[in-house]
């Protein structure tokens, strides 16, 4: 029996400090929360938000390094930091927009906020994962928390249904993801990402059927999480049924984490065999954009519409991924930021317009909103226009960046498809604007009290949507630094990457 050598353990506190903070906070929130009435859970929310802020600062402090910890299980690079910051940002705003929602819909506050924090933890793990198993566990941590959060309106059959559908398909696709991991493991002999990259670079496993099948299975697994067609079917139902802040969380946080994992695995560590997966992504991107937009076109429920729109946006992101050039990777990061910001804002507006207990989320309910709630309508308009890709909003710059990346990779036709899709998308986004500004009627609801948290969410999202759009330069820098740091490159100017 070999004595266990404690020194051999590559244990570092620092890189997981934010994670620990979040975990501790989640536990504290839970423990405190059991004594708090569900209708007074706002304090718990502030607590959660505060802890997120602390974790945010801690994460920020980690930037600029390029190492790993825990025997390569945890990557400490700007890529991880970028995504962790984004995830924390999202989590914070989901908490903020929940403050009024949770109390008014009587969600169990303790579980609610702690699960949000746990989900964030899972997401951050995915972002910082250095091996496939961490990605898997992070994914499961996140997913399980989200399944529960989606079903947390226990008496609402829609919420139940959202949870079970998401859960069943989620577990189903877990099988595929795992199978993929198993096969890649079989082909390369390791599940750590860095060694996989090295193995492939040295020709180990190249051309192995196992590797190819493994790649395919992992594509399926990630495809499910990012809601790519044809693995997208759960999305609208889950989005519609879940409590709205959780829908926002799914649309933003889960997407961020899934793309973090996806990017980490595929473009960053399987680049040696990119020829083997770009075509799949090509088709998937085209299908995802088209189906997402086409079906979004005929939706009548705004949450469902946003769900399909989220699918479509995943499609745009896949366009960049299919391009498989560094510039496109950075573009994805930037695009995600823009997408997340606008989505948070849009869901914030949706929440603000929900009545106590009764959802108010048919598009026709938005008619005449500009008259009743000019500020909310204006904000919603800006978010929708950002989705459409109208300059100078962040969505436009993101699209521009994505298209640049894709053209860099030579995907002209895919870009053309994306362009046509953007026009289609314009139609349904604009239709909401039509309802708000140009039609009369709708339900004059007593909207949910605009608490500071919600107002702050919408306001900050609004400012960010405009500001990042007008002055995107620093964020582009951050995105490209982040992406390239995971490639093992320093901060680089976009131009220097070009042929």
């Amino acid at each position: 029996m070999t004595p266990f050598n404690l020194k051999a353990i590559d244990f570092q506190w620092l890189p997981i400090l934010p994670l620990i903070t979040i975990a501790l906070a989640a536990i504290v929130v839970l423990l405190v929360g059991v004594r708090v009435d569900d209708e007074e859970s706002e304090g718990l929310g502030w607590l959660a938000a505060a802890s997120i802020a602390i974790a945010f600062v801690l994460t920020l402090a980690m930037s600029g390094q390029n190492t790993s910890a825990f025997s390569g299980s945890i990557a400490i690079d700007d890529f991880a930091v970028f995504f962790e910051l984004a995830i924390l940002f999202v989590a914070a705003f989901v908490v903020l927009m929940s403050l009024s929602y949770a109390t008014e819909t009587r969600l169990p506050g303790a579980e609610y906020y702690s699960l949000i924090l746990f989900a964030a933890l899972g997401m951050m793990l995915m972002a910082a994962a250095g091996d496939l198993i961490i990605i898997f566990i992070g994914l499961e941590t996140m997913s399980i928390a989200i399944y529960v959060l989606a079903g947390l309106k226990r008496s609402d059959p829609r919420s139940n249904e959202a949870a079970i559908k998401y859960f069943l398909l989620g577990a189903f696709s877990t099988g595929f993801l795992l199978y993929g991991i198993a096969l890649v493991y079989g082909a390369t002999g390791t599940i750590k990402l860095e060694p996989i990259r090295n193995a492939l670079a040295h020709g180990i496993g190249l051309g192995s059927p196992l590797l190819l099948l493994g790649v395919g299975m992992m594509l399926i697994g990630f495809g499910f999480k990012i809601a790519a067609v044809p693995f997208h079917m759960w999305t609208p139902d889950a989005y519609e049924g879940a409590p709205t802040p959780i829908t926002a969380y799914m649309a933003t946080g889960v997407k961020l984490a899934a793309f973090a994992g996806f990017l980490r695995v595929f473009p960053l560590h399987l680049s040696a065999i990119s020829a083997d997966w770009t075509w799949v992504l090509w088709i998937m991107a085209a299908l995802t954009m088209t189906v997402g937009n086409v079906v979004a076109l005929v939706q009548t429920n705004i949450k469902r519409m946003l769900a399909y729109s989220a699918i479509a946006h995943a499609g745009y992101l896949l366009v960049a991924m299919a391009a498989a050039v560094p510039e496109a990777g950075a573009a994805m990061l930037f695009y995600l930021v823009g997408y997340v910001v606008a989505n948070l804002g849009a869901f914030g507006v949706v929440i603000a317009l929900e009545r106590r207990g009764i959802s108010n989320d048919m598009i026709e309910d938005y008619r005449g909103l500009a008259q009743r709630e000019p500020a909310l309508a204006a904000a919603m308009t800006i978010f929708l226009l950002s989705f459409t890709g109208v300059p100078p909003l962040v969505g436009f710059v993101g699209k521009f960046y994505i298209f640049s990346g894709a053209l860099q990779g030579g995907l002209i036709w895919l870009v053309v498809i994306a362009v046509l899709n953007s026009v289609m998308a314009a139609y349904y986004y604009i239709y909401v604007i039509v309802a708000m500004y140009m039609q009369e009627g709708g339900v004059a609801v007593r909207s949910m009290t605009l608490r500071p948290g919600l107002v702050a969410t919408i306001a900050i999202a609004l400012i960010a949507t405009i500001l990042i759009g007008v002055y995107p330069s620093p964020y582009m820098n951050a995105a490209s630094t982040a992406f390239n740091s995971a490639l093992g490159l320093g901060p680089i100017h976009a131009a220097s990457l070009l042929p």
């Binding site: 702690s114 699960l115 899972g122 008496s155």
Partner: protein, 178 residues
Amino acid sequence: MPATLFIFLAVVSIITSLGVVVQRNPIHCLLALILTLIAIGALFLALDAVVVGFLQIIVYVGAIMVLFLFVIWLLNLQVEAVPTGSLAVKFFATIAAAGVAAELFVFFSKTTGALGGVTVAAGYGSIDSLAQTLFGQYLMAFETTSILLLVAVIGAVAIARRTIPERERDAPTRGTPT
């Protein structure tokens, strides 16, 4: 591993897993699943995965499956009275599943290599070597798993907890038979 053993376990696991899919009574399904798991556990043992093989039987069969059993009893699930779903759906679903199987078979027919090709070190699959790896290479994953389980507990409680009183006034849930 002797081929005969493998074939025996393979046949058992396939038959029992088919049983999961085709039987009507949930209890029977569950029993079939348990048998499958045991057969797979035996395969683990045969593949020098001693610890994992026992864990399979203890944890999986012993804990998880019992959970299933509880739920079946809790919900008082009966035999599905009539086969539901249209025949066409079943047909296409079967085709699709068979397609998956066929594709995977073709794939693995392309792979080669005997199982015994690598002589494993002594102690391979032992609890010692497992622990070495688990707490060395995979410490982070291990620690994280604790969080995962915590989440699962919180989640399960949060969602399965009986409804809050006032909610019952709003929309009385039907009493669950206990």
